[in-house]
Symmetry: C2
Subunit: 339 residues, 2 copies
């Protein structure tokens, strides 16, 4: 597995992937070449673009960049499932919007939920338990919920080319951070296993939390029904500053919510790499951009074009989308990714 060999190389300090193709799921072409060219430049000790290892910070959006986000953000599916799971404890929800619509099971409910409705649902379903209990709820949902199109766990829908890119960067001394509009505590329980990204490198939206001593004397962290921070748009550079404290030299997103993160990254000195995933493959994944209600890519796309940032064309640039395709189709021989 690329992930494992990347980790091993990072530990041994050996030159990364000298023996094997680091990005086997990326098709030959400009996208792949620009990534390898950038990494080679910033890691060449005698080159003019060399970047010391402690400054090799890479930030990645999650929804639509590291995994799919259609037909709706997976955390929204989780939140709606939680409304149904908790309904018995909340008889008042049967008469109260937006909960009553969710519970009525109307297939079109999602289209009618406003941002305020969603916030209310998230606050109600992501609170009232300890942080540890919430982690178990997320893990249990990930183990049992199935994506309607693929009938697979949502964590199967991570992008194989991005797993390879994360491992390749780490193998070259980068630290890889998630900077997502999704909830920190929705991502952390599985991000280390799936992406190789530890909890302290997961930046995202958050709810307020309180420390208290329980009746039995145990200290607890309790999740409160109040959104604390939305890590989207201009919030992303703010969160990068708060959590990372250093400007990234590489940033990857896929939507207008990532525009300010890319602008902030681009405005630093020295070599920089800004990129967007453009969802162009309706057959293997989804195709959407300027008019999508989820992951809208419009202004950021124009800016990327104008400024020469990489726009990855999923259909053209990715030989494999999901890790499970490798197992199913055999189109991607195991020997090729150097494990």
């Amino acid at each position: 597995m690329a992930g494992l060999s990347g980790a091993a190389l990072a530990i041994s300090g050996a030159p990364a992937f000298a023996r094997a193709d680091p990005l086997p799921s990326w098709n030959q072409g400009a996208a792949r070449q620009s990534i390898i060219g950038f990494v080679t430049r910033v890691t060449s000790p005698h080159g003019t673009d060399f970047v010391p290892i402690e400054q090799r910070i890479a930030t990645f959006d999650n929804d639509g960049t590291l995994w799919s986000e259609q037909p709706v953000y997976f955390q929204v599916v989780f939140a709606l499932d939680r409304v149904r799971a908790l309904a018995a404890q909340h008889p008042e929800w049967t008469d109260r919007q937006p909960f009553s619509s969710v519970l009525a099971g109307d297939g079109s409910v999602l289209a009618r939920l406003s941002e305020k409705d969603l916030l209310e649902i998230v606050e109600a379903t992501h609170s009232g338990m300890t942080v540890a209990q919430f982690e178990n709820i997320v893990l249990a949902w990930m183990a049992t919920a199935r994506h309607p199109r693929f009938n697979r766990p949502y964590t199967d829908l991570v992008f194989q080319p991005m797993l390879e890119l994360l491992a390749y960067l780490r193998g070259n001394g980068f630290r890889t951070f998630i900077v997502s509009g999704g909830g920190i505590e929705f991502m952390r329980p599985w991000a280390e296993k799936r992406y190789g990204i530890p909890p302290d490198q997961v930046v995202g939206s958050s709810g307020e939390t309180a420390f208290r001593i329980a009746a039995d004397g145990t200290p607890e962290l309790v999740k409160l029904p109040k959104v604390e921070f939305i890590d989207d748009g201009p919030g992303k550079p703010v969160a990068i500053n708060r959590f990372i404290g250093r400007r990234p030299i590489l940033a990857f997103g896929n939507s207008d919510g990532d525009q300010q993160m890319l602008e902030w990254t681009a405005a630093g000195g020295g070599a920089r790499f800004m990129a967007l995933v453009h969802h162009t493959d309706a057959r293997r994944e989804w195709a959407y951009d300027r008019t999508s209600s989820v992951g809208k890519l419009d202004k950021a796309w124009d800016e990327a074009t104008r400024r020469g940032w990489l726009v990855v064309d999923m259909k053209r640039d990715w030989g494999v989308i999901y890790p499970f395709e490798k197992q199913v189709t055999g189109r991607h021989p195991a020997g090729r990714d150097g494990g």
Copy 2:
């Protein structure tokens, strides 16, 4: 230098400090032994207390734990110096409390400033510039300000035994985080050089920050005059959860503001290490505890005693307090710290 050799060992992955005393500034005795015993237990692969490397999280308070905090928190000295430096741009301050008292240069002003006054001073002096400008202001102050008792830069007043402990832990696979009531952006500019702790491992209090595009098109992060989060007391476990996302297995503090961090650390499963620095050395540093207005150690001390947490007696347990003592007195031969 212990710091350098620790870093080198961490990179090479070699067994840490097999050749030399890892804690040369710690006197022989129970404190030193309990630290070495704990680290040995959690890093022994076949022992019952073994802790996988990704869970080796250590958190340290800063003021009074990693450096001195008397006669007043150093960031307060910085804030008062900033009031004086900015006075010309704020003619209104001459008639407005608490600024007028500070500007009047009354030596007893500090004793009369309330917590609300201090907050107002911090908000006024830590805002109105970009994050990058503030970093430069902090670095310039650190380069020129002198501690009144020692006539040395404040960053000279870090504790040599704690520098050795940080390097020893990192040499054994720990990640070392600051979790301080002090401002994140006051600590980050110098913490990596002084402590070996990178910006993303500095957790602390923070002010609100906004992203904006300046008139010339440059993206900026601007510091706003509003405190966002106070990382003290029950705020410390909250911040540990938000920033680190994993419970520490070792936590070190020195005051009642660290009590909840130690409680949160103690409540995890497996081997745990909780410790307090007790300031007992008026000759070399300061002696204070239950009645001090700065770094009050009262309830946390009682809890530490009751629960058997380590209480470091500075006078008894530390052979050297500050790094400059080694150069000046020669009481601590360079050969001993294994560099």
